[in-house]
Amino acid sequence: MTIAGREISALSREKTIVLALIIQLFIAAFSSFLVVGLTSLYDPGSAGGEIEVGVSGDQQDKLLDAIAQSDSVSATVYESRAAALEAFENRAVNAALTARSKQTEQGNRIAVDAAVPAESLETTLIVVTLRDLLSDLEDSERSVRTEYLEFSPVEIADDPAGTGSDFTQYFSFTYTILLPLLLFLPPFISGSVVVDSVTEEIERGTLELLRVAPISLTDIVDGKAFAMILLAPLQALLWIALLQFNDIPISYIPLLALLVLATATITTAIGLLLGLLTGTRQKAQLLYSMIVLLLFGGAAALPEHPATTAALLAVDSPTVTTFAHVAGYTLVAIAGYAVIRWYVGRLDPESL
């Protein structure tokens, strides 16, 4: 325990743990920035303003009807496609649409040719708006032709609460990407730090000094491991508190903490084993990151990926499988740590 305390105080004195927290915050901020930025790019409502399209072609009336229904598009009619395109080139309109009737074997189809800006931040917005507009047109055209169709499309009314699809994306991102990222980074870093801690003692030869103290090698290893294992759930709880503070409710917090604790124990056990086996940082770190990445990727073979488990718990949709996974990780963690202790106990301190 004393050694655990020493490890923690050494860490805080080095201020490196602060750096680690800042990095994690940066990663989190960076990824949420990315998604907020991208969704605002993709969402017509958030960017504000409507787009102006130039309309031409023999089927323009149907297109104009659809535009009249939409509140994010307004139209200007042009004589020909050439005129519409010229207006487009001169930036008088955001996009040029030409709707023509096209004969196929089974009847007429409306072919819409759309020209949108090639290099503009608004391109995404314009394309998404046009897609919605044309989908409305498609729906109304389809409803005229239902007699030719066997399948009747499922209808769902617009959201009564009025939230857009970007909200769904943001919601799902928060729970399925951001939260797992924040929860699993601390265990990964914990294991990495244990590798450093062990190999540094071995490489510098300071393990000798610790062993002069009346403690066994197992105690030393325990101390180093406990410090890092406990630090991970603490960081995780900090992130959870931060998310809660931002009005993002997180359910099953104790179970999430347990999940992080178990993961941290597993990564730490791997780190310890590699550190003791190889004795040099270069090898141990390389192997550690490889193996942990492999395990995390390989976990896809499980019925539920650890990230999914975390997301399901946090979003309050766990199933029996989810609980079973948490229990499973806990068991693996206990067993793994027991194996490490057994290995350390058998290890001859002189051989390091």
């Binding site: 189809r109 072919a111 394309v127 769902i156 729970y175 870093i189 510098r204 090898k283 390389l286 949709s317």
Partner: protein, 616 residues
Amino acid sequence: MNPRKLLRIARWEVTKNAGGLDRRTIAVVVVAVAGLALVAPVVGVGGVGVDDGIYRVAVDDDSQYDDVVANDSTFTVREASSRDALERGTVDLWIGERGVEPADSRKGAAAYEELRESASTYNNQQLAKEGNQTAAFPVSVTVQFREQASLNTSLGAGSGNSDGDDSPATDPDDDSPSTGGDDSETDQSGTEDDATGSVGDDDSTADGNTGGAPPGGVTGPLSEDELSGSPADINPPFPFQSLVLAFIFVIPLNFLIQAYGSTMLSERLKRRGELLLVSPVTRLDIIGGKTLPYFAGAMVTEGAIAVGLVYVARGELGGLISMLAIMPLVLLFLGATFLGSMFARSFKELTFVTVTITVVLTSYAFVPAIFTDIDSLALISPLTLVVRDLQGEAIGFQGFIFSTLPPLLSALVFFGLGSGLYREEDMFDQRSISGKVLDALAGPISRPYHVGVMTMILIPFVFVIQLLAIALLFATGDLSVPLILVVVAVVEEIAKSLHIYASYDHNRFDATARVAIVLGIASGVGFFLGEKIALLAQLVGLQNLAVAEAGLSGGVADVSGPVVILFLLAPLVLHIVTAAISALGARKNRRAYLLALAVAIAVHFVYNFTVVRSFV
């Protein structure tokens, strides 16, 4: 520097370095890499489905929504006897006689919207099976991405108009035999291919400056010049390839810098590096020799990846441009790690330093590549060059210089500062990281004009950070310009004054106000001269974006006459004044320095903000 000695040290590094990898380790690594390669496609294709089952729905078996829910893995069906389940919070959506009802929560709203989207996906899937495809998909869309006249020079592009008009008109007619009657989804690749050919031609006539895409089907699977299909098929271009590429190219570098950092730091443990330092070789031989194997290894790996990807994408050998583009990135990773391992006192610190490097540089490589639509912005990242190379697009020399020179120069600065610390007295002492930073900066400074030179040396660095900030803040819309100005003020003022503080910290100069002002002038002039690197941005026309304009040139717009002189002099005066302010603070102590720095930043920001407000 002596090549023979350098190579000998490189050979030692490979064969008998203290931390060298033995066969067993390599075997394990190979197995792990093979395992990752096996797992990666599964994860990459989205087989993991992280959002599986996050929304709980109560739905009857005979409801028409049952199939929709079953079709989307983000939903999980829960048994619920009555609508009360909605209030109790055990389900998020209740689908009964009154249609779909969401729970009164954020989750309920999200679930409802998700159901709407999956219903539309489901409809399209079902309709694709219909016999009468014209009735099922009565609207077909072709979206072309066309150049518009640029805001300032509408005349120049006007000539392109007339060419552009007739080819799109013929274009859809070409498609119609193939699109008509068929399932538009399965046919999509066919239409896309022959359409891109004509669009490629179209582009190159409309604007000659980007080099355009080569005609025909050479553009390959990465091309996004045109979209076609039913309305649901047209999705805006998403930079998925850039993401994948970023990871493919950057991940090996992360492992590499782990090993490189370890070997550099282990020289500093137990005074091991002493042996090499006392041998008759120069510092640069040692650093070069120890770096060479890692650099070569990285280039071989990245080269293999580049050639392999080019072969997959274009079916031919190539990838030289990709390798050249990725080289500055490799050097940047190595340089940052080298400096980091000179700063760090222990492995633990090194780990944190490496993680920081990884995160920052990965975002540098990746974020700009997101904006593939916006040429000049995307080119900030060298990875964009790789994407272009893979697509077989021509890359302009100017664009190449713009995206590779700043990281290359920054890498050299890193190596230069680090090698300044590769001395006995610095390597084996235990100063803190911040102390080491000051050591590195103060090391080469002994006369006032050195301060100005040092400022110039730091400029590539400032430039890279500003470019990254532009890319990062670009999407924030109206806020972006003020935010950029804040970043600019902070970064530039720190770059102008940190080494002044460092040299005062090392008692290089007298702590009088006169000397401080001299140093401020030196630094300000140095910055003013070095800042001209920002002209690079004009090579690719980045200044056409308001954000970039604000960030890089402080809003110096196109003006003529005597005003020009004012505009040339005003930044010079500004840089001198702010540098002198922080120098005055730096001569006293740390707190005074931070205070003065804050004042300087504020002055800088106010100046920039006023200029941008009144001229842009």
